[in-house]
Amino acid sequence: MLYILILVISGIAQFLGPWWLMPIVCFGLCFWKAKNAKEAYGIAFAAISTLWLGYSLFQSFSSGGEFPLKVAEIFKLPNAASLFTAVTLVGGLVAGFAGLAGHYCRLALKP
């Protein structure tokens, strides 16, 4: 459930606003829904990595797929796979820590 909520709500937020709405949504939803620290971190990480990876894959396939390769080359990355890994990690890490922070803040405020 938490997974779906993060996916949908953060998706809408990022579609309409800047990228940093994403950690705020993860923070809020984990504050509200996460049962423990592992879940907060894990589900937020998983939800955002799938969302970011899925959407970036969709965009690169719908445009023919060459463009990410060109961008990877500029950053001296060996292949497009490393670019997709970077996307997963950047999105996932920020989301995971934001989710964790949400859960811990809740524990701190409401024992």
């Binding site: 990228w19 994403m22 463009f67 990410p68 890490l93 811990y104």
Partner: protein
């Protein structure tokens, strides 16, 4: 404990978000850059891009309709001129904003602000060339005329309307990678873009290298080896033409300066300096009975391309052609009645003055019998990644800035220290925006000549044709009125006679209308033969392209657009026709040279630099090496103390043909032997084959083929972005060939052929790039392959907003 835990995790989450929101050294901000919602993924456009939405824009007076054709060319229909130029700015910014911004930063000397310290020397040089000061003058001159004022202000408002509504997600990929955002556009930035063109076309000089050669060999030898007019030439204005004006008195030649100053120079290869072609064929030689016009300006090829195609329509105008992003109006194009094109004149408008300082404090310099005070100016640079402001003090005389002082390293090797610069860039004003407005609206020959006072710099050979069956060409621009050979060598800054004092009247620059031969043409060669009363320069582009074009046009009857297209792609090597038989005569006498397979290839060559030929690979390298072998011993281009110019290839081949025993063939570095022409030619030939073997392996028709050896590179404006470039594009041609493509990435940057007509013209054209500046778009480089094959697109020239055309793919409305 639980509070600490909460606080810590908040800090980590917040910290990560913060760090990923900011550029990390040279890397972009990772969060927004990688996010598929805003990052570079958004720049990948699908083939079937959804028709773009309509826009509500403040500043428009009425509604503007923009129709995009299948090549991504916008056709803009506005109800008034203000809206037209507003829309031109808005529409071009959608496709090319980063590029315009880049050009304006180049001329402003502000590239290092966004690119970092790598660009700092380039910035310093551009400021020392006074590009920003020149732009301020130009921007000022735009405001003196109500028409140009309206145009540049409306255009800026249109660009800014785009900037105001663009979000990070839709920014150009270059902004995202380099981590900065666009600044507001202004008429000054338009002027800065023009200064980039002035610099590219006019800001190089041989003066100092020539002065060094003069100091070593004396005037007599220089007159012999560096004549003021070539042996073989086919000038733009045909030789028999009578000048129908009374020329001004030309100043007398004053005493020349002898001394030449020592310089610490870091040498690099000179720009091969290739130019452009244009011509117009009178109706007496065409199938339709009305003129045809062709133009292919050669510039450094880049992605995004320097050109952008557009059709501009308002109640006062309907014009189609290409423009430079950032510069309003249409630069090269056609309307219902006329067509025009441009090539660089390349006259000598960049002179260096040797300055005599009173002492080592550099506070005063000699002028006439007096000492004048040196002034100074401090240029400030912000550099990406550095908190400090970098300051660069430049000394000024009344001639202009001292380009480099003792101990400073010049940006180009042909620039000496201790010399002041006078060049046309910051001095000539004119009003290019007004000039383009007038030619865009032109209906006949008289309208065409009206643009002359406004075209200042760079000087252009403006070719013209009308449906009243007039063809004409003018080497237009503001050219200093010089004494003979003024500026051939460095000038004496202390002698008042050495300065620029007046301009050649604009109506007296070389021109010709409807010559008897039935066509006009230019290929950057001498605008006129020595009967022209004014001195424009001693060296222009080599004559071969002009010779070939004039020969072929002279043989054309019933010409069609396709005949002109074929001529644009002509690969015939005029230099080889002139000198190869001579060279082969020497080689065949040497059994070991004759035995080489390369000899057979040259002997059987059809003299065409076609992509599948092998001979051009050998010939082009051979003649280049040969010229060095003949001259480098006496005229060292690479000498650290006194680098020199070398005689032109025209002079070299004339010497080989007529003075085979000239002393210059001897290599003065070998004291035990006196080499003859035969010795130099055969050893150089063998050495050429050796170096080709090192480069391409032992002789093999597959690896030595010209298309592989030459392969034209079309690089992104930031050469570091290699994957956004198109490398080794396969095509024929070469320097000195009508199809003037080079490995270094120069070549026809826009090919256009227009067939004039009483009712509606037909036109063809393309450039090696695409309409979109976005490397993630299918319109980024979609014309490159067709360009390499020498094909042209038929251009969609709509009669009105309501015309239904099968190639129109989408419509955008701009509303207030």
């Amino acid at each position: 404990m639980k509070y600490i835990r909460a606080l810590l995790s908040l800090l980590v989450a917040g910290g990560l978000t913060y760090i990923f929101s900011r550029p990390l050294g040279p890397a972009p901000a990772l969060g927004p850059f990688f996010s598929p919602f805003t990052g570079f993924w958004q720049n990948a456009e699908s083939v079937e891009k959804l028709p773009p939405a309509d826009f509500k824009l403040q500043g428009l007076k009425g509604e503007v309709t923009v129709k995009y054709d299948d090549n991504g060319v916008p056709h803009i229909f506005a109800d008034n001129d203000e809206d037209l130029y507003f829309a031109q700015g808005f529409i071009i910014a959608r496709d090319r904003l980063w590029q315009m911004d880049f050009y304006s930063r180049v001329a402003a000397g502000r590239l290092s602000e966004v690119m970092g310290p790598l660009a700092l020397d380039f910035d310093r040089y551009n400021r020392r060339l006074q590009l920003p000061e020149g732009a301020e003058r130009l921007a000022e001159s735009f405001t003196h005329d109500p028409t140009s004022k309206l145009i540049v202000e409306s255009y800026s408002a249109g660009v800014n309307a785009y900037i105001q509504q663009v979000s990070y997600k839709d920014l150009a990929i270059e902004y995202k990678i380099l981590g900065y955002t666009p600044e507001a556009w202004s008429p000054l930035k338009t002027a800065l873009v023009e200064m980039v063109m002035r610099k590219d076309m006019n800001a190089r000089s041989d003066d100092y290298r020539m002065a060094n050669a003069l100091a070593k060999f004396g005037k007599e030898t220089m007159n012999d080896l560096f004549p003021d007019y070539p042996v073989e030439e086919s000038p733009i204005v045909p030789s028999s033409t009578k000048w129908d004006f009374t020329p001004l008195a030309v100043p007398k030649v004053p005493e020349l300066m002898k001394a030449s100053m020592a310089a610490n120079l870091d040498l690099e290869a000179e720009n091969p300096g290739i130019g452009s072609n244009n011509w117009a064929v009178h109706g007496s030689r065409t199938a339709s009975g009305l003129p045809l016009l062709a133009n292919d300006p050669h510039l450094g090829l880049s992605l995004p391309s320097i050109w952008y195609q557009m059709q501009l329509v308002s109640p006062t105008v309907n014009v189609y052609g290409v423009c430079v992003p950032g510069w309003p109006g249409i630069g090269i194009g056609f309307n219902k009645d006329i067509a025009w094109g441009m090539t660089n004149v390349g006259s000598d408008v960049f002179d260096l003055f040797q300055i005599q300082f009173k002492d080592n404090t550099f506070k005063e310099y000699k002028y006439g019998d007096n000492w004048r005070p040196v002034t100074s100016r401090v240029n400030e640079f912000k550099v990406k990644g550095s908190p400090d402001i970098i300051r660069d003090t430049v000394l000024y005389t009344h001639h202009g800035p001292i380009l480099y002082s003792q101990g400073q390293k010049p940006f180009f090797s042909d620039l000496p220290v201790g010399h002041a610069l006078t060049w046309v860039g910051p001095v000539a004003a004119g009003n290019s925006v007004k000039a383009l407005y007038l030619i865009n609206h032109g209906k006949n020959y008289d309208d065409y000549r009206k643009i002359l006072p406004y075209l200042a710099a760079p000087g252009f050979n403006v070719v013209f044709a009308s449906n009243q069956n007039d063809v004409a060409i003018t080497s237009a621009g503001h050219f200093p009125l010089k004494w003979k050979e003024q500026g051939k060598y460095s000038l004496d800054g202390s002698n008042p006679e050495h300065e620029w004092k007046a301009w050649i009247p604009v109506e007296q620059t070389p021109y010709v209308k409807n010559p008897a031969r039935g066509f006009v043409s230019s290929a950057n060669q001498f605008p006129a033969d020595p009967s022209y009363p004014y001195y424009l320069g001693w060296k222009f582009a080599p004559a071969e392209r002009g010779i070939r074009i004039n020969e072929r046009l002279g043989n054309m009857t019933k010409a069609t657009p396709d005949s002109l297209r074929l001529l644009q792609n002509d690969n015939f090597n005029v230099e080889a026709r002139r000198i190869l038989p001579e060279l082969l005569k020497y080689l065949e006498k040497d059994p070991s040279a004759k035995a080489l397979p390369a000899y057979g290839v040259l002997a059987k060559w059809n003299l065409r630099n076609d992509p599948n030929e092998i001979a051009p690979t050998i010939f082009e390298r051979f003649v280049k090496e040969l010229r060095l072998a003949i001259w480098e011993d006496e005229f060292p281009t690479q000498d650290e103390k006194a680098p020199m110019s070398q005689p032109t290839r025209d002079r070299t081949w004339a010497m080989l043909q007529k003075q085979p025993n000239a002393k210059w063939f001897d290599n003065v570095k070998t004291t035990d032997k006196v080499e003859t022409a035969a010795d130099i030619i055969t050893t150089t030939f063998k050495a050429t084959i050796d170096s080709l073997t090192v480069k391409y392996g032992p002789y093999n028709p597959q690896t030595w083929v010209w298309s592989t050896a030459k392969g034209t590179d079309i690089k992104h404006l930031v050469p570091l972005f290699k994957s956004f470039s198109r490398m080794d594009v396969v095509n024929g041609g070469g320097p000195g060939i009508v199809n003037a493509t080079t490995e270094a990435g120069h070549g026809p940057s826009w090919r256009m052929v227009v067939q004039l007509d009483k009712t509606w013209p037909k036109a063809y054209g393309l450039y090696p790039g695409g309409q979109s500046g976005n490397p993630g778009s299918h319109h980024y480089d979609n014309m490159v392959d067709k360009w390499a094959k020498g094909e042209l697109n038929e251009l969609v020239f709509l009669k009105s907003k309501d015309e239904q055309h099968p190639r129109i793919k989408s419509t955008v409305k701009l509303q207030r």
